[in-house]
């Protein structure tokens, strides 16, 4: 549900079986003692680079909206958050 995948009940067994096989393999990481090891956040050392705080050209409103499934008056349109009253 968290991932919003819309999983159906009949698919749950199929994925559960495959994922438990993968998780079993992943479980072997538990064999390693990593208490004193630092996690890798970036594999390659990077320096933070800053740029001048000046506006640069970006997308126009038309470009930004061009791929939207539905739009109106320059806005993205989505379905109502709640179902309409019957």
């Amino acid at each position: 549900m968290l991932a919003r995948l819309g999983l159906e009940a009949e698919e749950e067994d199929y994925y559960a079986q495959q994922l438990s096989g993968i998780l079993e393999h992943i479980g072997r990481l538990g064999e390693l003692d990593t208490d004193s090891i630092k996690p890798t956040a970036q594999a390659v050392p990077l320096e933070a680079r800053l740029r001048q705080d000046q506006p640069e050209p970006g997308l126009t409103q038309e470009q930004a909206l061009a791929n939207a499934p539905e739009r109106r008056s320059g806005f993205f349109v989505v379905k109502a958050i709640q179902d309409p009253e019957p």
């Binding site: 993968i22 390659v44 470009q63 993205f76 379905k79």
Partner: protein, 489 residues
């Protein structure tokens, strides 16, 4: 001039500059070759012939004027369907992006465009670059040009197959855990995964951001080096791209005499290593030794844990990256829903294929409260151990040489029902990805008449060294051809 499409970039460049042929002629021959091979191979999701003709005409203007001509001017290039091309449908092999036309070029695409390259089309790939066979594409599989009953590898299978089949001179792919090197190996072509940070990812549809890199496929090491040179370099629009200019061509012919080549014991004992692959790689090592390299046995003791660490880190990052496909700003929308939440659920249910769903589930689980330390943090620590393995090994050698894939191209459908078996294809490429290293795969003979790939890894930023070792081996191959050849090229 009937076989222009079989020429390499370097040879075509010479012919173009000398005005022996025009870019338009090169393109016509290339499109004819695509028409012949494409029904069998299905390397492309869509061709961009109109754009290509305009680009070829522009290249011919530049060539005639002798102005703004570089190695890529007039060269036909194929692009993996995860690289945004302004105004050209780009779908990442997914139904959820059907019809998406990016407003801007990816930086690598812009650089090729400015260099005068000619874009043939978008190549097939596993959905969102998740897979090792190109069978996870929403638009049908690509077939291996050497044997059409077999997969081309993946996820950049279309880009590898296009180059292997003579349907492109060079192409771009992306490599997250082996998605350039493994298909290059299975199709018998050269593939390069650069150091993480060498190439900008701006405009690449993201899979796993701490791993993704863009790189070239070609039929020779020099051709691949030319493409990598053209796409490399700092890009203010990708904060992970580095300011580390490099001459990737200068050292290419330096040879291997006096170089120490590390042979990792664990990479020859890995689960699923086929005898024919091991024999071909051992013969390659012997040839490199005869050419003056010193072979040094090295150890990468955490190799067996690479797959497990990768299948936490990459899905975790993917689950986050793919959250953007909410059918609001772009992508398909399932119109049957009556409210917003239902729209998300139905769109993602029908828009994503099974492998993408598996990985999003796995990644969401690994990042969820209560499991973060046990999975994601643990995997990032193991990633440190894997990187330390390489650092220690490179104290004893200049580059590491092994097989790229433990197996040759397998039949379509052979591994689709068992995700873990599919993941094991990448067991020799994943560790270098986790460590951010550059790697080259190039053909080294065959097993069962199918291509075997040799992988050359180098320390971070030493892409030129990996290319040099690869080129040295390639030069030995040309002077001593393998009796079994490498298929139908």
């Amino acid at each position: 001039m009937s076989a222009l499409h079989e020429e390499g970039l370097v040879q075509l460049h010479r012919l173009l500059v000398d005005r022996e042929v025009s870019a338009a002629e090169v393109l016509d021959d290339q499109l004819a070759a695509i028409e012949r091979r494409e029904p069998e191979v299905h390397a492309y999701l869509r061709l961009t012939d109109e754009l290509a003709r305009a680009q070829a005409a522009e290249a011919d203007r530049r060539l005639a004027a002798g102005d703004g001509v570089g190695a890529l001017t007039g060269i036909p290039v194929a692009l993996k369907d995860v690289l945004c091309v302004a105004g050209v449908e780009t779908t990442a092999g997914s139904k959820i992006l059907r019809g998406y036309r990016p407003p801007t070029d990816a930086t690598v695409v812009r650089r090729l465009r400015e260099a005068g390259a000619v874009f043939l089309g978008m190549t097939n790939c596993d959905e969102f670059a998740m897979g090792s066979s190109t069978e996870n594409s929403s638009y049908g599989p690509t077939r291996n040009p050497v044997d059409a009953r077999r997969v081309p590898g993946g996820s950049s299978g279309g880009s590898a197959a296009a180059v292997g089949a003579g349907e492109a001179v060079v192409s771009l792919g992306t490599d997250t855990g082996g998605s350039i090197r493994q298909p290059a190996a299975l199709c018998g072509v050269v593939g390069v995964k650069p150091t993480y940070g060498r190439v900008s990812r701006f405009g690449l549809i993201a899979f796993a951001s701490s791993l993704d890199q863009v790189g070239p496929f070609a039929r020779s090491v020099a051709d691949a080096a030319h493409v990598l040179q053209a796409i490399s370099g700092l890009d203010p629009r990708d904060a992970t791209s580095a300011d580390r200019p490099a001459d990737l061509l200068g050292e290419l012919e330096g040879g291997v005499e006096g170089m120490r080549l590390g042979v990792p014991r664990e990479y020859f004992e890995i689960e699923g290593m086929e005898t024919g692959v091991r024999v071909a790689v051992e013969q390659a090592l012997a040839a490199l030794e005869r050419a003056g390299a010193e072979l040094v046995e090295v150890s990468l003791p955490h190799t067996d844990y690479g797959l497990a660490a990768y299948y936490i880190i990459a899905p975790a990052e993917a689950s986050s990256n793919l959250a953007r496909f909410d059918s609001v700003r772009y992508g398909m929308r399932d119109e049957s829903a009556t409210n917003l939440l239902e729209t998300y659920l139905r769109t993602r249910r029908h828009g994503f294929g099974p492998e993408v769903r598996r990985r999003v589930m796995l990644g969401t689980y690994a990042l969820s409260a209560g499991y973060y330390d046990a999975y994601y943090l643990k995997a990032q620590k193991v990633r440190t151990l894997i990187a330390q393995d390489f650092t220690a090994a490179f104290e004893h050698c200049d580059a590491i040489v092994s097989a790229t894939s433990p197996c040759v191209a397998f039949p379509l459908g052979a591994k689709t029902e068992d995700p873990l078996q599919m993941y094991l294809n990448d067991v020799l490429t994943l560790p270098a990805s986790l460590a951010g290293l550059p790697g080259v795969s190039l053909p080294c003979g065959s097993s069962w008449n199918l291509p075997v790939g040799l992988q050359v890894l180098a320390p971070q930023w030493e892409d030129a060294r990996a290319l040099r070792v690869a080129r040295a081996f390639e030069a030995l191959q040309v002077s001593q051809p393998q009796p079994s050849g490498e298929g139908s090229r």
